[in-house]
């Protein structure tokens, strides 16, 4: 049987494809235990970069196909059984229900989706029933999750020693509690305390089968992940029903319906500093204090902790203590509050998709698909009153309830003609598409509910609006937005004698997102292929030269254009007249109604248009030894023009509310995709190995037409900006000072001076820098250290990424290794701002005691404890840059299938047990917790480690059974 791949609005034999399409099959998708389809794609396809750097259960995964299409990012278009859906809806599909995922990587293939295909298209096909008797499958696994790596922090005694040293350097009085560091011992290990571990559980049942005229596939799925950070979780209940009916020989109808409830709780405690990040807090919490120190004034605050919480103790007001140093709040208390049942979001989705197919003749087919995505999301939270100390408290309790409803429908109609004339085969497709999306949202919040540290507000009180609630503190909001697309499209496929192939597509899209001047866009694409191995001359060449091990050889290439409307926003082309948005009340207090005000608040841009991406793709596919060994190599160039950005040259003095979105930039991406696979599938010992390698780099070619324009990124806390995006360079490269060792004496510092504008000689480093502090290269030798001395200090882009999968099976045993290798990028490790300084926080990395500069350790490369913080930890410099390469064993699994003759005895067709290790082993030089990082703040800050919630490592046990 020929392998088929799904293309837009149809399918094609994979050998005949001329564009760049890669398929990931069901087996690969199910190899790792993941919540959603996007996660399953990591490392599976060349040119498809998948990063999930957020370990919070249910968090979104970043998928980037063939590089960064735009400074705005270019979102991937997901199409599930012909229905375009957003990423969240795709995450709600159980991986076991997916038959295949086909990825349209190049523009010639994606152009059929026109204006929404800029980021590439991922086509998901769900499993449908097969004719035959009912088949039941049951898959389940349970996994134990833990923090991917525990960081080596100081214990209590070492921490006291370090503080004493730093206080001496700063000329401050040492803490009396630290007079005898040794007496403090190990103290508290906050990482162990805060991260007891999480779990992952999944169960999936599917029943499928069918008669001659009707087939069905019905599944139920339950997914439950409890995060490594206590109180975070994600749960999903889903039901899917795929039915197909043959009404007559000519007419088929079918439906897919999926009902999903998913939701959970992340943590708002996932910021970029210890006060608001649980992982940073765990590293920087003072180890000399213990969580059992009672806070005597407010013992009843424990009433805010549910009694079934794992930290709860009826006898000991354990967690409520004040922190003697630093401004890190009490992380256990924060987890308590996060962990109360108040504060989570649930979404209910109904995804449905229905088709009718009419085939009056063998060569002519009409198809109409209509589907919708109806989602309702309800989130609510309660912020209790609490008091830990004067800085860590909340005096006013509040309740919020947010409601969101999305409804989108999509209707596609196609007509397809397939004809062969002798050696010529033609396939013609024409169609229309209409898409409508709308969102309504509203919510309310209340404050001053009457909760106090001694008096918890109960959920019933919150919902019933009774008790002490003062209705005067109610607030409400509502909003809505909508958009529409309307399109016509066509495609011609031509094949001559299994030798020459041509595909041409054209799509015209219109969108409500653009003003009348630019409402429509036309997106063409074409590609061609040549199967050399079918040429007579090649066959004779093979016979003559012994090249007959080549079983397949095809060249193909194409060009296409696709559009990105996402950055335009829904109504950005309009100059907004803000009506009723600036009300004023005149007259005596409390007696007058407000008077509406209206003004023009945004600068209009009726000429706003799509970002356009043109991509050229050149490729060769080759099969050797009867296609056991298969190689595909591709090269592409992707040019993006009309990139959208808010025009920054708008002065606040013009008094308008915002800058119009404007088409002001261009960029280019170039890359290689390479994949190789080999398989042996005969006899008792079977094995296969497949690898894919991707390399892509980008370059900004225009920004505002101003080559000196700089977009900076990354500034946080006391740290200055550390990335720059400029013309001629890649997006978001790391910029900063080049370090130049450490000052060994005050004389060295004082020798560096410059003359200021007033003719006065000034110290380059100011008066606070001394021996043991970092010295930086003054690139322009003007005696001053400023923006002009910053250089490119690193790049967040890997030289290549690689996925390697090996499978081996022998008799009943199967073994799988799946590795992901990212090589050659740098990381910006901002965590050092907190773990190397004794200022903002109270604990530091262990190496600071041994490796930091001291008068007796002058060869050190790390600045002195207690040195000048501004100089050492607020300047962006290469001190924060680290090698970000890593090779990670994403999955190692071993399975055993009970021999059929044994399992048959208990009426089980197939029974397999397996154990799997996920993310357990990582080879890297990176000193931080996890080098697998994605975008932090849009595309302008990538691969920066902020100490956020990292992905866990998992030990899984599972069963696959079919009856």
């Amino acid at each position: 049987m020929k392998e088929m791949v799904v293309v837009g609005y149809g399918s094609q034999e994979s050998e005949d494809v001329t564009g760049s399409i890669v398929q990931v099959d069901s087996k690969q998708i199910m190899q790792t235990a993941v919540a959603g389809a996007a996660d399953a794609l990591q490392g599976r396809a060349a040119g498809v970069e998948v990063v999930n750097s957020n370990g919070s259960p249910g968090s979104n995964t970043e998928v980037r196909i063939r590089g960064l299409g735009s400074i705005n990012g270019s979102p991937v278009l997901y199409v599930v059984d012909g229905m375009p859906l957003d990423g969240a809806a795709v995450n709600a599909i159980a991986p076991q229900d997916i038959a295949s995922i086909d990825i349209l990587k190049d523009a010639s293939a994606a152009a059929i989706y026109g204006a929404r295909a800029a980021g590439g298209v991922i086509l998901i096909t769900t499993k449908r029933g097969q004719k035959g008797k009912p088949k039941v499958t049951f898959d389940t696994y349970y996994g134990v999750q833990s923090l991917i790596q525990k960081m080596d922090m100081m214990n209590a005694g070492d921490n006291a020693t370090a503080f004493n040293y730093a206080d001496a350097v700063r000329g401050e009085t040492p803490d009396a509690d630290f007079a005898d560091p040794d007496a403090l011992g190990n103290g508290t290990d906050w990482q162990d305390l805060l991260f007891p571990g999480g779990s992952i559980y999944n169960a999936h049942v599917n029943i499928s089968g069918g008669s001659e005229k009707a087939t069905y596939s019905v599944s139920l799925d339950y997914f439950d992940e409890k995060g490594v950070v206590p109180s975070t979780f994600y749960k999903r209940y889903s039901f899917r029903n795929n039915l197909d009916f043959e009404l007559s020989k000519k007419i088929k109808v079918g439906t897919s319906m999926s009902l999903v409830r998913d939701g959970g709780k992340g943590t708002s405690f996932n910021g970029d500093r210890p006060e608001n990040s649980i992982l940073l807090a765990a590293m920087s919490m003072d180890p000399t204090i213990t969580p059992t120190t009672p806070y005597t004034d407010f013992p009843d605050t424990l009433s805010l902790v549910p009694t079934d919480h794992e930290f709860y103790s009826a006898t000991d007001s354990l967690a409520w203590m004040n922190t003697p140093r630093g401004n890190t709040g009490n992380p256990i208390a924060s987890l308590y509050r996060n962990g109360t049942q108040y504060g989570m979001t649930w979404t209910d989705k109904l995804l449905t998709n229905n088709y009718i197919e009419f085939k009056p003749f063998e060569w002519l087919k009409f198809k109409s698909i209509i589907g919708c995505d109806y989602s309702v999301q309800n989130g609510w939270y309660y912020n209790p009153v609490f008091y830990i100390d004067a800085t860590d408290k909340n005096d006013i309790d509040g309740l919020g309830n947010n409601y969101n409803k999305w409804f989108s429908w999509n209707w596609e109609n196609t007509v397809q003609i397939d004809k062969s004339f002798g050696k010529h085969t033609i396939s013609l497709l024409g169609g229309t598409s209409a898409y409508d999306w709308d969102n309504r949202n509203y919510g309310f919040s209340k404050s001053y509910l009457g909760g106090s540290v001694n008096n918890e507000v109960t959920p019933n009180m919150l919902l019933s609006n009774t008790g002490t609630i003062n209705t005067a503190y109610n607030e409400g909001y509502s909003g809505f937005s909508y958009r529409r697309y309307a399109s016509v499209f066509g495609r011609l496929n031509y094949e001559y004698n299994d030798l020459y192939f041509f595909t041409g597509t054209l799509r015209r899209d219109g969108s409500s997102r653009f003003g009348s001047a630019e409402k429509f866009g036309v997106f063409p694409g074409f590609s061609a292929g040549w199967k050399i191995h079918n040429e007579k001359f090649f066959k004779s060449l093979q016979e003559n030269s012994g090249l007959d091990f080549i079983s397949f050889l095809k060249f193909r290439g194409g060009y296409g254009q696709i559009g990105n409307s996402e950055p335009a926003g829904d109504f950005a082309f309009n100059g907004t007249t803000s009506i009723n948005n600036s009300a004023v009340i005149f007259g005596p207090d409390g007696t007058q109604t407000q008077i509406s005000g209206s003004t023009v608040d945004y600068v209009p841009n009726p000429y706003l248009r799509w970002e356009t991406i043109g991509m050229t793709n050149l490729a060769v596919d080759a099969g050797f030894f009867n296609n056991k060994l298969w190689v595909t190599a591709e090269y592409y160039v992707k040019t993006t023009s009309d990139m959208i950005m808010g025009n920054p040259n708008i002065l606040s003095a013009w008094g308008v509310g915002g800058a119009a979105n404007t088409n002001i930039g261009s960029m280019e991406n170039k890359g290689f995709d390479f994949s190789l696979s080999y398989q042996k599938m005969e006899g008792e010992l079977n094995y296969s190995i497949s690898t894919n390698i991707s390399r892509v780099s980008n370059k900004i070619t225009k920004l505002l037409g101003d080559d000196s324009f700089v977009i900076q990124g990354g500034s946080f806390h006391a740290m200055e900006y550390y990335t720059r995006t400029i013309v001629g360079s890649q997006v978001g490269e790391f910029w900063g000072y080049e370090s130049d060792g450490i000052f060994q004496s005050q004389d060295e510092v004082d020798a560096l001076t410059y003359v200021d504008d007033n003719g006065i000689r000034q110290l380059t480093y100011g008066s606070t820098v001394g021996p043991g502090d970092y010295r930086y290269v003054d690139q322009n030798n003007d005696g001053q250290l400023n923006e002009e001395d910053k250089i490119k200090i690193g790049s967040p882009y890997p030289d290549f990424t690689m996925g390697i999968t090996g499978d081996i099976s022998y008799k009943g045993f199967d073994f799988n290794v799946f590795m992901y290798w990212s090589y050659g990028n740098e990381l910006f490790n901002t965590v050092k701002v907190f773990t190397e300084t004794p200022y903002e926080q109270t604990n530091m990395s262990s190496y600071m005691l041994t490796d930091a500069w001291r008068p007796d350790n002058t060869t050190a490369t790390i600045a002195q404890l207690g040195g000048d913080r501004q100089n050492n930890y607020s300047r962006s410099s290469d001190r924060f840059i680290e090698d970000g390469s890593f090779l990670r064993f994403k999955n190692i699994s071993l399975g055993y299938t009970i021999p059929e003759n044994v399992s048959r005895k208990v009426n089980i067709e197939k029974l397999r047990f397996y154990v799997a290790l996920q993310n357990y082993f990582t080879i890297t030089k990176y000193s931080g917790r996890d080098p697998e990082l994605g975008s932090t703040w849009g595309v302008f800050v990538q691969k920066a480690d902020l100490g956020n919630y990292t992905i866990p490592k998992t030990l899984n046990f599972g069963i696959n059974a079919s009856f």
Binding site: N580, S652, G655
Partner: protein, 525 residues
């Protein structure tokens, strides 16, 4: 074939529908494709939008953050030095073009200017035949324009005394709001800005009503325009015009006067009393959100942190506390001392400024604009009712005294001065009184007795009312006063004042870079 035809028809009908441009023309929520401003009602909405900015939170905060905190009268206060870092940097004279306080002033006032100018534009636009685009009654049109010009004059006055000469935009067309090109991003001179202020306020004075009915309290009046114009003249040392303009207010039919009891001026019962010439109208907004709405949050800014409803800002200095002469009844209405109980405020509980968990850095707090517990906003902390008085009759009198003195008309100066002194329970001005020799204005600044007395009187009369820094700057006394500032050994960074630099705030960095440097920065920033 029956089915086939049906389906084909269906698809053809639908295909034509999907190419339909109208189907893609969605109406934007909150926007209207048709010109919105077509009649007097919508023109009034455009005027309202300009008024709206007046009460924006940071727009009011910046008044005292500069006028009081940067002077010798007050320090920033708050939880810690880093609580409102920008304000702290201003107090220390360490502000940079990236400091937030100047950008709040700049952004909000220019927003008010843009909205006022937009409203004026739409009301004066005419078609080819000379007909106004918006038909409306001439008197109404003039009043609306006068209100906009009043607000614009007020904004430019505040901009020029904070930043010096600034860009002058008097039409939306000037600033790219509608056209986006041919911008004049060049700073005008201070004189040019003052000329615009005068022109706007003179127009406003001509067309604004002398009074507004109760239901419209909060809209601009002729007296407000006249009083503000007097102040603009005074800042330019146009003494004759300043004196005349003060007299226009003093002799008007509107019976402006001093409240007999000084403390009442800042109470809700007198917010439209005889002493108020121009106030920023604050009303608790029933929507109650924390956005840019109509309420005041001064009371919570100025409240004691330990009382559960206060941020502890703008604490009076010891230097200022000591400036009150014995028997001055204004002292009690201005200063909160350690241990003091204020009836109706914080339940009448005594303030603890030495043993509390938070203590004001100077040991004192301010009392003006603290509201009684019974008047606390219910919707949000920032949403109070009490108006903020920008210009009151005592200021008219003291401006009159100062202008008269500068003109050599000492008798007139003394009589206006005495009205203010007497209300505070103090005796008439006497050049030979011993107390004058104790004034800082005498000992430190060496002014003659009458000048020292008028300057001193302004300080204590408008204590913590956001006038002091601007007064010191225009008198040329700022450097001496601030560089010698010493509050029982504490200087709060005020000594960093640099002559020729610190008088003006830095222009926000964002606008300088957005103009590609066409806007010149103030000296030393």
């Amino acid at each position: 074939m029956k089915h086939f035809k049906k389906i084909l028809c269906f698809i053809i009908v639908f295909a034509s529908a999907s190419c339909n441009k109208e189907w893609l023309e969605l109406e934007q929520p909150g926007n209207n494709d048709k010109p919105y401003f077509v009649d007097a009602g919508s023109a009034y909405e455009a005027v309202i939008a300009a008024y709206d900015v007046q009460a924006w939170r940071m727009n009011v905060v910046t008044l005292w953050a500069v006028g009081s905190v940067m002077s010798d009268d007050a320090v920033k206060g708050g939880e810690s030095p880093g609580d409102q870092q920008g304000m702290y940097d201003c107090m220390n004279f360490n502000a940079t073009p990236n400091t937030d306080v100047p950008s709040w002033i700049w952004g909000d006032l220019y927003r008010m200017i843009a909205r006022a100018s937009f409203a004026i534009d739409i009301m004066i636009e005419q078609d080819a035949s000379g007909e106004y685009n918006i038909p409306m009654d001439l008197d109404l049109r003039n009043r609306f324009i006068a209100e906009c010009r009043f607000l614009r004059g007020y904004s430019y006055f505040r901009l020029v005394r904070n930043f010096g000469g600034v860009m002058l935009y008097t039409s939306a067309e000037d600033d790219g709001t509608t056209h986006g090109s041919d911008l004049s991003n060049v700073r005008a001179t201070p004189d040019e800005v003052y000329a615009q202020v005068e022109a706007d306020l003179l127009f406003a004075s001509q067309y604004l009503p002398a009074t507004v009915p109760l239901a419209e309290q909060g809209r601009a009046t002729k007296g407000a325009a006249d009083g503000l114009l007097a102040k603009a003249y005074l800042y330019q040392e146009k003494w004759g015009q300043a004196k005349a303009q003060c007299e226009a207010v003093m002799n008007s039919d509107e019976n402006y006067g001093l409240e007999p009891n000084y403390g009442d001026v800042f109470s809700s019962s007198k917010q439209w009393g005889q002493e108020v010439v121009y106030s920023l109208h604050m009303v608790e907004d029933p929507d109650g959100n924390w956005g840019e709405h109509e309420g005041s949050w001064l009371s919570i800014w100025f409240g004691d942190r330990d009382m559960g409803w206060g941020y502890g800002f703008r604490c009076p200095t010891i230097d200022f506390v000591n400036a009150f002469e014995p028997g001055d009844s204004r002292y009690d209405a201005t200063i909160v001392e350690d241990g003091e109980s204020i009836p109706g405020i914080f339940g009448g509980a005594p303030h603890d400024f030495t043993g509390g968990s938070w203590n004001p850095p100077t040991g004192f707090m301010g009392q003006k604009y603290l509201i009684p517990d019974s008047e606390r906003p219910v919707t949000a902390d920032c949403n109070g009712n009490l108006d903020y008085i920008f210009l009151r009759y005592a200021d008219i009198l003291l401006m009159h005294a100062e202008a008269s003195m500068e003109l050599g008309d000492n008798g007139v100066a003394e009589s206006s001065l005495n009205l203010v002194r007497n209300r505070a329970g103090l005796a008439n001005y006497d050049a030979n009184s011993a107390v004058i020799s104790t004034y800082k204005e005498t000992t430190l600044l060496g002014h003659n007795p009458l000048k020292a007395s008028i300057y001193h009187e302004r300080r204590v009369e408008f204590g913590l009312e956001s006038e002091r820094f601007y007064d010191l700057v225009r008198w040329g006394d700022a450097a001496t006063v601030l560089q010698n500032f010493n509050d029982n050994g504490q200087t709060y960074g005020k000594n960093n004042f640099v002559t020729g630099c610190s008088e003006l705030l830095p222009i926000p960095a964002g606008d300088i870079s957005a103009s590609n440097g066409a806007i010149e920065q103030n000296p030393c920033y």
